[in-house]
Amino acid sequence: MHFTSVQYLVFFLVIYLVYWRLNARRQNILLVLASYFFYANWNWRMLGLIVLVTVADYFNGLRIRGSSSQAQKKFWLAASIAVNLGILGSFKYFNFFVESLAALAESTGFAVSFSTLNIILPIGISFYTFRSLSYTLDIYRGRLEPTGSLIDYAAFVSFFPHLAAGPITRAKEFLFQLEKKRLLNGADLQEGLRRFLHGFFKKAFIADTLGFYVVDKVFASPADYSSGALWLGMLAYTVQIYADFSGYSSMAIGSARMLALKLPENFAFPYLSKNVSEFWRRWHITMSGFFRDYVYITLGGNRKGRARTVINLAATTLVSGLWHGAGLTFVLWGAAHGAYITIYHLWRGQDAPRASGPFGLFMAWLLTQLAVSLAWILFRSPNMAVAWIYMKGLIAAPGVDTIEVPLLVHLAFAAFIADHFAGWLMERQSTAKVRIPAYLQAIGYAAMILFLYHARTEAANPFIYFQF
């Protein structure tokens, strides 16, 4: 049941209608039941993992808070980390590590034969384990009081809008909202619907159109295509992954908002960035924040000298790459960003000239986007061989095939540019908001709905970030 499916719209409508008839406690019970139904609709057997994580961390949180000594606190935190990372490791990384170990052993001359397991990857496992882990970590650090309600905690972990693909909401940002009475008002409904529609448009039109007409074809056999087609494919994927993931986040935020619950923002026009460090402040913000607070700062952050800072940054991006997927391409994608950030910090540390003036800023922006787009090739390719063929092909392609670009693809690119242009305008004129009358905006939204109804590609793809 994807956000863009009719089933979800019906499901949400039913939940919405019931939700606002209940008091706060019953609303939370409804959210738990609805979320479990939402997840079970994909695979009910995997629901047990969410329940396990929820119950374990609920009691771990209480025990960390109730511990009289630091050693006891550490013990219960370790238990929480073991449960979450144990589940994540078993279901997501077991085969990757076994295969990598076997490959390493073989490369050093040892013939080994390890068994891998036929393990299904539960949707959203990276998201809900991290979400739950943030709860015990924050209690351990004294930043959060544990909740006394298992229902509230279960609602936080499993809340269906952010269950499958984030944002990675922290307990301290969300739990208190579940403890309060929620107010039914038109502003939340309007903002929620607006965000949901924006996200729907990004996903169902921009991402799916580019994926179907360009990206899937080019990445299926890059050796057949000309350099021009490969550049187009790279740019199309750069836009597709943004529209897909930010679209999902927007729909999640919109769904929650209609229930008078606020989820954190996850994207802030990342392709406006003029350096890679800025890119990570704008892209998948909740994940970046999680790794910053719980990995980078734990490693020492910038408190231990410049060299250590750079190492910590590179290590954090490497872990971030691994979080995205159990594969060499994801690790190398993380490593590429680690290298970018290292180079950027070294450059800054040398008192090198900063980009200034329109031309300098434009060149900084262009270089950043080129670096980010090239790294996306690693992210999208099924394996390193394909990624290597693709990257070589950008300069000298063996193939000659071109891509037929229908009008819809041009419109998808145009819509993406309009999205980022609006973001650029908003950032420049944040204090002088242009007020467009509601009825004029409504013309745009009604047109958008009718356009989506007809232009939506039939070969809709599932959300890319579901696999993480």
Binding site: R21, N23, L189, Q190, L193, A438, H454
Partner: protein
Amino acid sequence: MREAGSENENTPVWPHQLRLRRGAPLVFYTLVLLLLAEFIVAVVLPYIAPERLYLKLYLSKEARENAKRFVNDSAPFLSYDEIVGWRNRPNVSHKRWVIDGHGSRSTRAVATASARRDKVIFLGNSLVNGSSGVSNDETISAYIEDETTESSNFATMLYSLDQSYLAYKHRLHEYKANVVVVGLGVDPGAGLMNRYIPLRARQEHNMPFFKPRFELTGKALNLIPMPPKQAYEEIFNDDAVLSTLASSDAHYNEFKAYTRLGLTPILSSVYYIYNKAEHLASLINGDNRGLPLLKALMSAMVTEAETRGAHVIFVLLPDMKTTSPGRWRKFLPDHYGNTVKDLSGAGFNVLDARRTLRKSGIPSRGLFFDDGIHYTSAGNRVIAAELKTMIGKTGGKRQ
């Protein structure tokens, strides 16, 4: 604004929520505009826009291109036939699916005369032809072959009985079979009142073709022949073709409903629900509209075969849901069983393939491919075994 869960929590909050204009003006105006658009599209536009414009929206780009390819004789698997609509393109293959020079999916070259005792030709749709999931040697027709029996499989994708009958009458009788096996789908009347495939099955992008049909005048069968080939071009440029279909295709109303209800999200949702309800009603009550025409065509087929010295066996081919109805379907009336009884009672030689498949003891998953419609080699083998017995019993001797 109201507080949910307050002391008056049992008081309905919806009247307040519905005050959209002040609380959520953007939602209010958007809804008003959408409703206005729905009204214009459903009520005003049909009086202004010609129907051929709707057809361009109704058919996918892929369907329009496939129709063009078909008319230009460059469709990969089918070629144009001015009597039947389309036929198997000779000498083509796809995966395990091979069509010989006669347009037959057979295990050997088809001869016009046979030294074997029985010569059987197979007519029908893709269920008889077999999907690309089975090889030519794993079809029903192949499994009945032995030293005394040879077969030729002329079944063609999406054929209904009227087309099988016309194909036999005009061309396939030349193969001098003494047994004609005609496969009928789970809903054997479907397609008999249809002349333009997209009107009945919009999603059928690969075969947006015209077909002939018969109509019953009293007890007499009258042929409404294929339109001329240029109808494929004219249908997008001239409303006359659609007007002809309006009076001769029983599924035209589905297209007409689309012109009013299919273009906007709210009305099409309503129409979708209506269609689902209608489908459910047909599962409960059955749809017998095509049955008189079906029986008349079956009689014509039998008569035609008898004049050629052959007899006909009709095989009623069930899908997986009919063979193994799950959950609530078990409680619905057995329309398949009723149809078998009805047709057998009318004196036709009918093989109840469902009973045969159930008797085999093989689970449905082993008998059907994932689409739940086409048979695996195991399914084909089971049906062929029963068919072979029936051919023996009904005296499949060469006359």
